[in-house]
């Protein structure tokens, strides 16, 4: 056994958009163990539920994360609707589905860019984000916000999308699909990208299952868990199968996300053809009384919302378990035995969202 040394990684590091600290225990250039510490961006948003009434908290829930913001708001609204026993209009559920798939699209394109940046492929990073910009424009046009949409409310949604806009959006997505295919060819076939990703950071199926990996991290290791299959919002009307890969390396996680981009485009198309006419919201009277939990699929994996109301307009407790929180044990396992130079790429392959994790 060689001499061991500890290299601190983060909280400030060029590859990290958000602060997480890892103590990397090294033996020569090999990582033997990684010890995480989190808590740099804790904002106490769960506690805030006692100070903001349950309608206002929708805006707070959306701000738990900057990228998967919509699905946080949607999860919170679904939670309250379940506690209060509300059945929201079908059109609102379809609109929520469309927007959540858009947020998955923009999150995955963002991730592809960040990954390219992490292994030093600057121009690929720019190309991914150029495509993402078109998605953001669609979102701004339909919701009024680029990343914080603010269209959710308890009992439905706050904005409608006209039929013309929906048709136009599908045409734009169809055009984009060919561009995304060209872009993804680079991720799939490029020699240098393969060198950085293939066989690096392998997470076996058993480890993924035992450590509770969620989302594309788990699905890259063959774990077939996709919360959309639970059929919340309008997903039970849409035809799709969870995407998974068997290899469990960084490349597999990348492929899962690339395939999910095409899946999201197909889901949006299906939702647009099936969307019914009608109301987009309903009147909400009374206060939540009781408890419930809700599971949804975010771009990064499963998010878990628990809430308990006591009949007043302030909830007693809201607990959010976000996908990155669930993926940290898997990350530590991935890091064991890797080279020091691969650490930034491996940290990125779980798509870390630290603001989510610390809430």
């Amino acid at each position: 056994m060689g001499e061991r040394s500890i290299v601190p990684f983060g909280p400030q590091h060029p590859v990290l958009p958000e602060p997480i600290h890892l103590d990397l225990v090294l033996e020569d250039e090999k990582v033997v163990e990684a010890i995480p510490s989190i808590g740099f961006v804790h904002r106490g948003l769960e506690k805030l539920v006692e100070k903001r009434d349950f309608h206002e908290y929708t805006f707070v829930a959306e701000r738990i994360c900057g990228i998967c913001s919509f699905i946080h708001g949607m999860g919170y609204c679904q939670l309250i609707e379940k506690i209060m026993g509300l059945e929201i209009p079908r059109r609102a559920q379809y609109l929520r589905t469309i927007w959540s798939e858009f947020s998955r699209l923009h999150s995955h394109l963002l991730w592809l860019g960040l990954l390219a940046d992490a292994f030093g492929f600057e121009s690929l990073f720019m190309q991914s984000w150029r495509l993402r910009e078109k998605i953001l424009d669609i979102l701004e046009e339909t919701t009024g916000g680029r990343v914080i949409f603010g269209v959710n409310k308890v009992g439905g949604v706050r904005r409608d999308i006209s039929a013309d806009t929906l048709q136009r959006v599908v045409i734009v997505l169809k055009e984009m699909e060919t561009e995304i295919k060209d872009l993804c060819k680079v991720f799939i076939n490029d020699y240098s990208v393969e060198k950085r990703l293939k066989g690096v950071g392998v997470l076996s199926f058993e480890d993924a299952h035992r450590l509770g990996a969620v989302g594309p991290t788990g699905r890259g290791s063959g774990l077939q868990s996709d919360m959309r299959k639970l059929g919340y919002a309008a997903y039970n009307d849409l035809d799709f199968e969870p995407i998974f890969e068997k290899d469990g390396d960084s490349y597999a996680r990348c492929i899962v996300r690339i395939k999910e981009i095409y899946q999201s485009i197909s889901l949006i198309e299906q939702a647009v053809t099936k969307i019914p006419l009608g109301e987009i919201d309903m009147k909400v009277t009374g206060n939540p009384n009781g408890e419930h939990f809700e599971r949804l699929e975010q771009p990064r994996g499963e998010v878990f919302y628990y809430g308990r109301g006591n009949g007043s307009k302030f909830l007693e407790r809201v607990r959010v378990r976000t996908p990155t929180f669930a993926n940290v044990p898997a990350l530590l396992k991935i890091l064991q035995g890797c080279e020091l130079t691969d650490v930034p790429v491996l940290v990125l392959t779980i798509d870390p969202c630290i603001s989510c994790t610390e809430r």
Binding site: E56, S123, R130, D137, E140, G150, R159, V186
Partner: protein, 109 residues
């Protein structure tokens, strides 16, 4: 072994001959979308200073004083969520599509 046909080649060639996707920002500005939530505006003549917007604002950005007939918004605290516009009984609040311009904070003690 180097691959003969680099997968990035098509994108590179396309980029050489197409217009830049970015714009020369301060000179060339993009018109915001009609739906964009930029900033809140109040038609003060219509306002009855009821204070509902102040109560509902999740960011605590609005201060209303009925006795003094004043309605003040802290634009740097406002998150442009549109909630005040929805609850306003007189419909004198509106969401404008332009973002606020950079400013220094002079009203917060």
């Amino acid at each position: 072994m180097q691959k003969v046909n680099p997968p990035m080649l098509k994108i590179i060639l396309k980029n050489l001959f197409q217009k830049a996707p970015t714009r020369m920002y301060p000179i060339e500005k993009r018109e915001p979308f009609a739906a964009t939530r930029g900033h809140v505006d109040n038609d003060i003549d219509q306002c009855i200073y009821c204070g509902i917007c102040q109560k509902k604002c999740p960011a605590g950005a609005i201060a209303v004083d009925r006795a003094e007939k004043s309605w003040v918004i802290d634009p740097l605290r406002c998150v442009a969520c549109n909630y005040c516009v929805e609850v306003c009984p007189k419909k004198c609040l509106s969401m404008e599509k332009n973002y606020i311009t950079p400013m220094t904070c002079t009203w917060r003690k």
